[in-house]
Symmetry: C2
């Protein structure tokens, strides 16, 4: 006898065009009905154009037909909104208030750390006018989809990414939009993207406490916020604005990360505090949250980011940061 | 016989409460009428509250009464909008697209360079949610004004500054505003501030190509744009978006400035290119504008910024940048 579990296991082998995850992990399997030798499978057509649907249909039929005792395999497509498909366990927003302190860097490193643990991770790049995530991961393909939804683009190590730059014709096209359009784009990145089943979604929030940040905190069910800063005094002031904003909007600050803490010069075996003395303890206190790590200025990391190869980075500071992020998030997500 | 010129010269000695510039330079003198020994002076009451008006009245009468052949001095206040008073010769916007590349730093250094030439200079900090100008100049006082206008706060060396942080109760209050409010604030910084007579107004534009940048380029008569970038590839991409935007809005790009070009380590007499090889020539080419200078990462400068003492900075790179900015702007302004 064929069982539903057997059929669903087969569906884990069916790849979706434009995605690396299978039908089951993307949450596209909506139902399996078995009557005798006949198997009926209901699939969401979300984000699949006609060609992709045809391919999925053939692949599904072939995969299920391999089971013994299976006769006819009937495939039905239903239109479902991405929001009904997505099952995201935990959403964490990376904020700072100040630009250029390394929000995208910390977002990426966090996603990489979680992925290396074997978790399913996505990055929502909410920096519509200055998106830097795809470049760091060396993603050059564009996102695919249909009228019913968008599929994220997957990185080399399997991190799901959506970013304005994956939807633009050219990397350097300027998105000259006022706030309402920015907010709409961010909301769509949440509502219209087939994220499927994710353990963590990391949201890279652009600088400032205006439209984009507001929309992220209001329209996306952010579970917690991580604040990134550099040791400069004036950065600290602007970062306090971000902490202030998170608190006003009742989002817990889970931790703080100091970037550009120091530069190590091997020739003289010396650490230089380029941007002044570390503000790490003070910022942790201001935010009322633990210090998760301190990243140095690392020319090697800058190079990997420029080459689109951030996923191959490893360093002592990153290992430390990764460990405290994983520990902190597993505690936060368990609550 | 008393002449108008003699009276106007006297008015150059009359200070305005809350400002360092005199009545004449602030453009508040609206008319001088002389009939025999009687002198009638019409002043704009713009940005002056009742107390300030009373002080100005007494000071003006005392100053003019010193002239021989002057009998009665009559002072009349008229309400005039700041836009009718302001005479700004040249407005230059500092943009980048990317956050944290040093727009505020370059804006400040440019204003300092021009001020050191004896020119009248103002800075309009259009970064409403992340203002860093006042901190760099060590300005802790708040802006004063009345229902009819706002007076900029003046720095130690006489640069006129307006910034959201000069209007907030606390430095770290978050301004959680959507685009339309941001745009309104920027427009007000242009329309409602008594800039008076300025040779140059430097506008520090926030990151991104959304509301704030759009408003600056649409509502303020920007004569030209200077683009700031760092050597990172991904910065270059986002900076191209800004160049793209300036071009779309028909604003000439006057020049480009590379920040964080290198770090000099005196112990080993070596320049380290922390963020990769210089992109200066390439960016100048992309922008179709000259390279005005390259600034290193300078821990001394970071320290001065944090101490609010940027005006006492001097270095070889800054001297070079200052010279090329002055030369370029004097050519651009003469057109």
């Amino acid at each position: 006898m064929v069982t539903e579990a057997m059929v669903r296991k087969c569906l884990q082998e069916v790849g979706v065009p434009g995605a690396t995850r299978n039908l089951e992990k993307l949450g596209l399997v909506r139902g399996v009905t078995i009557s005798g030798k006949k198997v009926k499978i209901t699939l969401a057509s979300t984000a699949l154009n006609n060609e992709a649907q045809a391919q999925v249909k053939v692949r599904t039929q072939e995969a299920v037909a391999k089971l013994s005792d299976v006769g006819r395999v009937e495939i039905e497509f239903v239109e479902v909104r991405p929001s009904e498909i997505n099952q995201i366990n935990y959403v964490v927003a990376i904020m700072s208030g100040k630009g250029g302190v390394g929000k995208s860097l910390v977002s990426s490193l966090m996603a990489i750390a979680l992925k290396r643990q074997g978790l399913e991770v996505g990055i929502l790049d909410a920096d519509i006018t200055g998106p830097s995530i795809p470049r760091m991961f060396g993603i050059a393909t564009r996102a695919s989809g249909s009228h019913s939804g968008i599929l994220p683009v997957v990185s080399r190590t399997g991190i799901e990414v959506i970013s304005m730059n994956l939807l633009l014709p050219e990397d350097d096209t300027a998105v000259i939009w006022r706030g309402p359009l920015l907010s709409k784009a961010i909301t769509q990145f949440w509502q219209d993207v087939v994220w499927g089943k994710l353990d963590y979604l990391v949201v890279d929030v652009p600088p400032g406490t205006a439209d984009a940040s507001l929309t992220v905190l209001q329209s996306i069910p952010v579970s917690g916020v991580i604040i990134v800063f550099t040791p400069q005094d004036l950065t600290a002031m602007i970062v306090r604005k971000a902490v202030n904003m998170a608190q006003k909007m009742s989002k817990p600050v889970l931790g703080v990360v100091e970037n550009m803490s120091f530069l190590y010069i091997p020739e003289i075996n010396k650490r230089i505090e380029l941007f002044g003395k570390s503000k790490a303890q003070k910022m942790a206190q201001t935010a009322g949250a633990p210090l998760l790590g301190q990243l140095p200025i690392d020319p090697e990391l800058a190079k990997l980011c420029d080459e689109g190869n951030i996923e191959s980075y490893s360093s002592e500071s990153f290992a430390f940061l990764a460990q405290s992020i994983i520990q902190m998030l597993s505690q936060a997500a368990a609550k």
